[in-house]
Amino acid sequence: MATSRIAHGGGIALSAALLLAWSVGAHADLTLNMPQGVTAISHDVYNLHMLIFWICVAIGVAVFGVMFWSIYHHRKSRGAVPAQFHESTLVEVLWTIVPMLILIGMAVPATGTLVRMYDARDAELTVKVTGYQWRWQYEYLDDGVKFFSTLSTPQAQIRNLAAKGEHYLLEVDNPLVLPVGKKVRILTTAADVIHSWWVPELGWKKDAIPGFINEVWTQIEKPGIYRGQCAELCGRDHGFMPIVVKAVPEAEFQQWLEQMKKDSTPKTAQNDSRAPIVPGGQTL
């Protein structure tokens, strides 16, 4: 009787798992894990993430293993007679000290990575990133180049009136262009409310806070286009202010920068209107 109930529950769980497996199998490109990223720091962060994940898995397997073994064997329906022990100073001390040691083992690499992430010295280029409701502004401080970067996904796609493009909601008019192989210092701040600048492939996010400037750095290893989003709730169109970083070889970057300097009024530099990205009204 009880077994049939459990089998019933197990059946539901199994079908849910199958549903999940089907959904995963149907799309081979489905991402399950954190990207390894394209910087030395992002690799460190990924390795740290995996290290702690596997430690947790090991502890989980051990603890749940013991528990389910006990649930199977020490059940009244199998005629188990309850023991009456309820204390053991030895095991209490052991399962306090052993976790402490495991934690120290995690803290050491975490501290090393954190110290490296905080070392923004000797950057070769500085870009100031300013969050606005709801767009980003990039300013190359040493070169006087400054422009806005705004979502370029057409309204019709958001409103389900047109087929959605490959980079739906992760595309902008003017991407941030950075040279590969150079240490770039990024200063984040905001003009209105708090935003957060995040490109997963770079390995971190940093809040952009009005009235304050935060400093981070990155050194991208290989050319490519890396996409991210604002990560701090910043109002109605928080979901519609993506970040696109275009990493190019040094020579190409210099060329692009010269072009930008010549173009004294980049087309979007004037685009400072506070109109919402997604016009409202008709959805409810």
Partner: protein, 532 residues
């Protein structure tokens, strides 16, 4: 009026040892000072809020079923995320624990009632007004609060007419919580039956004692900081405005100094419940009672020195990041001790698996999974990736739903026969359990993947690579949400009637509340019981 009902009660209740029965009609509930009635009010209020907050969650999940904007405007979506959190935290989880405390603490320590019964009435009746106020903001010009339940400035200052109403509602909830906490401490410290020493108290009482101190310590901090928001908005102060010499991040520090202990306010009583239920169904005393008490106290202490792990990305100095990372990791130690103790309690017991035990076992497993992701989040450099993504959403829902909420459901099934005198429908209870446990995992497990793959939280629309897991999550949400109707039906049926429950109810149940009749008389332990 009260004299009249007095007389009637005496006429009808002479079999009850001249006990005063409840008053008749509405005044019984409006004017009651009885801990059982107030406990019932809290629990029913919490159940109502659970369904209101749940409906909001279903709006969120329905919008996220597919990419694109289908059902709601982004601004309304943000109101839903904000109110879902406020309603669930302050309206569903906390009142449920206070309701359980009201019902159980006097019966567990052998007290006739709560120490401060009139204040008890007041602390409950503030709640419906606070939440009417909060929910009414949805109909105000500019809509309800949409800046997230964390109320971060400057964004929260963009709230429309709703703003002062939200602040007042938060003040009212805070006042109610503080009064409830004072009452619980006064009851536990003063009204224990002779012989009920502190180290003999049931763990539910211990965890609530510690929780009540956390509440008294941090609710005034929340009140203070939301008042600072109010003066920033209306009286020209600049606490959180950099242009006036203030600092928006200071709000986050103050808020999370409240917020992190608040997290433990929602989980410590759950630890207490699980520590009552597992020994009963394992038919074996709780393993490591004293270490459970010390672990609870350690977690409570640590909760005061870890707040900034919610803010690793705001740009703290390196030393600050390291301190909060190490302190946060330390919490894994006492939490681990608790899990090990529960497993050791089951070890070599003689277990049966009635609905309360099923929920308790699911709690241990799924709360531990939430604990693991919590440990991952504690690692500051990795948190720079996790922060503000669906990984965080998955983490805190694992500790709050199959954590806190499952413990409340376990408690409801466990003590409902004692409260009502009727056994609930076990078959329906098990069905509710299996649907809930499957639903909750289908709902929240894929959110780990979404967060790791780069989906930020609090967005109404998303890039195409997040589609599949969002669909799975939404299916789980509707399964979990609608399964709760079985709980509602079962509770109503049990209140209305059903098989008569014995006084002991469960074969392995230990403790003073099981020595009383089921249901217990309106007034219990008017003479203190003796504890050997």
């Amino acid at each position: 009026m009260s004299t009249a009902s007095h007389t009637t009660d005496h006429d009808h209740d002479h079999d009850h040892d001249h006990d005063h029965g409840p008053a008749r009609g509405l005044s019984r509930w409006l004017l009651t000072t009885n801990h059982k009635d107030i406990g019932t009010l809290y629990l029913l209020f919490s159940l109502t809020m659970f369904f209101i907050g749940g409906a909001m969650a279903l709006v969120i999940r329905a919008e996220l079923f597919q990419p694109g904007l289908q059902i709601v405007d982004p601004h309304f979506f943000n109101q839903m995320t904000t109110l879902h959190a406020l309603v669930m935290i302050f309206g569903a989880v906390m009142p449920a624990f206070v309701g359980l405390a009201n019902w159980l603490i006097p019966m567990m320590v052998g007290a006739p009632d709560m120490a401060l019964p009139r204040m008890n009435n007041w602390s409950f009746w503030i709640m419906p007004f606070a939440f009417t106020l909060l929910l009414s903001t949805l109909f105000m010009p500019g809509g309800g609060p949409a800046g997230g339940w964390t109320l971060y400035p400057p964004l929260v200052l963009q709230t429309g007419n709703a703003f002062p109403f939200v602040i007042l509602a938060v003040h009212m909830m805070g006042a109610s919580s503080i009064m409830g906490a004072i009452n619980i401490i006064a009851t536990i410290l003063n009204l224990r039956a002779p012989g009920m020493t502190l180290m003999k108290m049931p763990l539910f009482v211990w965890t609530w004692l510690i929780t009540a101190f956390l509440l008294i310590a941090v609710m005034p901090v929340l009140a203070g900081t939301v008042t600072m928001l109010l003066t920033d908005k209306f009286f020209g102060t600049s606490f959180f405005n950099a242009a006036g010499g203030g600092d928006p991040v200071m709000f986050q520090h103050i808020f999370w100094f409240f917020g992190h202990p608040e997290v433990y306010i929602m989980i410590l009583p759950a630890f207490g419940i699980i520590s009552q239920i597992i020994p009963t169904f394992a038919r074996k005393p709780l393993f490591g009672y004293a270490s459970m008490v010390y672990a609870t106290a350690s977690i409570a202490f640590l909760s005061f020195i870890v707040w900034a792990h919610h803010m690793f990305t705001v740009g703290m100095p390196l030393a600050g990041e390291l301190f909060f990372m190490y302190a946060t990791m330390l919490i894994a130690v006492p939490t681990g001790v608790k899990v090990f103790n529960w497993v050791s309690t089951m070890w070599r017991g003689a277990m049966t698996f009635e609905t309360p035990m099923l929920f308790a076992i699911a709690f241990v497993v799924l709360f531990t999974i939430g604990g693991f992701s919590g440990l991952m989040l504690a690692i500051a450099p990795a948190d720079f990736q996790y922060q503000d993504t669906y990984f965080v959403v998955a983490h805190f829902h694992y500790v709050l739903v199959p954590g806190a909420v499952f413990s409340i459901m376990a408690a409801a099934y466990y003590w409902l026969p004692k409260w009502t005198g009727h056994m609930y429908n076990e078959k329906l209870g098990k069905l509710h359990f299996w649907l809930s446990v499957v639903g909750v995992n289908v709902l929240f497990f894929p959110q780990h993947f979404l967060g790791l793959a780069g989906m930020p939280r609090r967005i109404p629309d998303y890039a195409l690579q997040f589609t599949e897991f969002n669909m799975v999550s939404t299916v789980g949400a509707f399964l979990f949400g609608f399964s709760q109707l079985f709980l509602l039906y079962n509770v109503i049926q049990t209140i209305r009637g059903g098989a008569k429950a014995t006084d002991q109810v469960w074969e392995g149940a230990q403790g003073l509340e099981w020595t009383l009749s089921s249901p217990p008389p309106y007034h219990t332990f008017t003479t203190a019981p003796e504890i050997e």
